[in-house]
Amino acid sequence: MKGSRQRLLQGSLTQAMLAFAQRLRADKFIITPNHLSDCLRAMDLVGMASRRRFRLMLESLLVSNQEELFRFREHFADFWQDQPLLAQDDAPPKTLLSREGPAAARSITSVQMESAQDDQRETIGAGLEIVKSSMDFSKLRLEDLEQVQSQVLRMARKLGKRLSRRQRSVKRARKLDVRRSLRRGLQHGGEIVAPVFRARRQGRLQIYALVDISGSMAVYGYFFLLFLHSLQKVWPSTQSYVFSTHLTPVSQHLAENDFGRAWNLVLASGANWSGGTDMGESFFDFYRKHLRPASASRAVVIVVSDGWDRGAAGRMGEAMDLIGQHCRRLYWLNPLLSSDKYEPICQGMSQALPHLDYFLPFYNLKTLEDFCHSLEGGGDLGRWSGSRIWAEACEAGQAGTTT
């Protein structure tokens, strides 16, 4: 009798578990059949006496990072609250949690692009077939996207190839590789016929990119992420982050093959789009949690932002100072440099400038190419040296005071 009741409960529980898994999958959790069978086995082990224990058990099995943990708890509370834990009903999955932030941001991007498109029609006309590399990203038309994408991809591939060539171009510092020499010698009965040498590998660049995706930067952020998406394919160690009020790692989303899908994942990743930009805090967060000290000598940090910081005064300068000390090169790409009249006088920018190695424009394909070139170590960038621009601005009495 007890056995059959148990079976009945197990049956309905399995159904409820399946429905719960459906719901989690809809929110981009990766739940495989293996996970489910583990869950069912674990239920037997842990028992169903305590709701908390049941939740902890599912957490261990189904969650794979801290962000997911919070979302999981929401889903859990919502799903298992409405019904008694062992209820018979077949628990239809609920609708997805609405995500206003990303949705709003998505519309921002499309609205900006649409309106830009109208401007474009007036000035350039509809018959344009080739996107010029000097055209500002914000003036691109939606149908040009594909063409730009392929150009960006080509650029990233080229960069990846050049970066990896760096390790092979070693001329000196040769050392006998005893292990390999002996091993090769085995073929000749232990005689070392051709010794093998070992050359010091030039450190691989570790690229970190921090992209501003607040309202004013949405279009440029989109294009830089597009570039990162391609770069990550040829240079897999690239780490990408987006920030507005806080910093969110997005490398995993960018690993998606299709950029459209990757972009949607970035939008849904919980980054706060509508709020102001707190750069100081985001950069501190980056320094504290993500910048690996071991890679400092090989690290290249790239910030893509217009520098409009709403955070506490002074924090930004401190953070940039720290990051600057712990990387080989620190880049800042600013779309506002498209205008000759632009002066870096806003609070965030003027604090960051003295710590930058390079302060470069980024608003069209040409500037992106220049940036790639400088990343490979080429090009004369004296003109774009951050500290030099800062010194000039100070002389002109335009830069704010820094900490």
Binding site: L56, E59, Q66, L182, R292, A294
Partner: protein
């Protein structure tokens, strides 16, 4: 030692080893033991991820095999390597006595194989010696190494081209840790149970301090834990973890203190922070942490 058969038993077992945890972590450990799945632990530095594996191995009576990850870690340091010098010597010896061909087939045998931690774990298991395998700070290793781990974590076997596949019937208890300086690939996490270790509550930390700094004054221990709790709510570059609390507690015991005052905090601040910016900020805030009602 017998395996724990409930979450409570896990909590109790770890507590006997001086490791105090909540039922959420205990649940992860319990399921890892019972389901034979690796346990992936993430958390800030110094919250006791590595310590957990050590205590677990000790309490389960298993051998602890530790693989510390670093950039450039490769198969020959993590899994196996051939003992070239020995191979060469035996080739020379064999060359004098017998035809070389036979000897050549022999030099890729188990006696010429140097086991590194991962192979060591699998071989120990196949010989009936249970192990706890700790793969520490996986976020420091390269992506290539992560990809290699995929085979190991799903099948617990290693393929050596010259010799064949080495596997075992039983599965080692695998603990992976990460400080989260970068995201670990989803494919790894999917094969593991996941747990995020947070800073302990002041009550839990008090238990830990009492256990790890024997002879500490009760009031001092309580002061330290509350002080640390306040400290962690502030935004330091490197927030002090439990490891720092313990260093500090032990230092204060050595100094024969029975309570905290601004003077002693200032003198011993180097136990808590290892960074100029943080030290400066802390120095300015000491009064606030000790201030009215702070330690009541």
């Amino acid at each position: 030692m017998t395996e724990p058969d409930s979450v409570e038993a896990v909590i109790q077992m770890l507590a006997q080893g001086g490791y105090y945890c909540d039922d959420d972590l205990a649940m992860g450990v319990f399921l890892a033991i019972k389901l034979g799945k690796p346990l992936f632990l993430e958390g800030e530095p110094g919250v006791g991820k590595t310590e957990m594996a050590k205590v677990l191995a000790q309490r389960l009576g298993r051998r602890l095999i530790r693989l510390q990850c670093y950039e450039g870690l490769d198969i020959s340091t993590a899994v196996y390597e051939w003992n070239y010098a020995k191979q060469l010597l035996s080739l020379r010896l064999a060359g004098d006595a017998a035809p070389g061909r036979e000897a050549l087939e022999d030099v890729f045998g188990p006696e010429f194989l140097l086991s590194r931690p991962l192979l060591d774990a699998i071989r120990s298991e196949s010989q009936g010696q249970r192990v706890v395998l700790l793969i520490d700070e996986l976020d420091r290793a390269d992506e290539e190494f992560e990809a290699f781990l995929l085979e190991l974590l799903s099948d617990f076997q290693v393929t050596i081209p010259e010799m064949g596949t080495v596997g075992s019937d039983t599965v080692p208890l695998v603990i992976l840790t990460s400080n989260r300086t970068r995201e670990i690939h989803d494919a790894i996490k999917r094969r593991c149970l996941y747990h995020w270790i947070d800073y302990p509550s002041p009550e839990k930390e008090l238990q830990i301090v009492r256990a790890k700094a024997p002879g500490i004054d009760e009031r001092l221990a309580r002061d330290i834990c509350q002080f640390m709790n306040r400290l962690r709510q502030d935004d330091y570059l490197k927030r002090p973890g439990v490891a720092e609390s313990l260093d500090w507690a032990q230092a204060l015991v050595l100094l024969h203190r029975d309570h905290l005052d601004p003077e002693v905090v200032r003198q011993t601040k180097s136990c808590l922070f290892k960074n100029r910016q943080d030290l400066r900020r802390f120095q300015d805030g000491i009064a606030g942490y000790l201030g009215a009602g702070a330690l009541e």
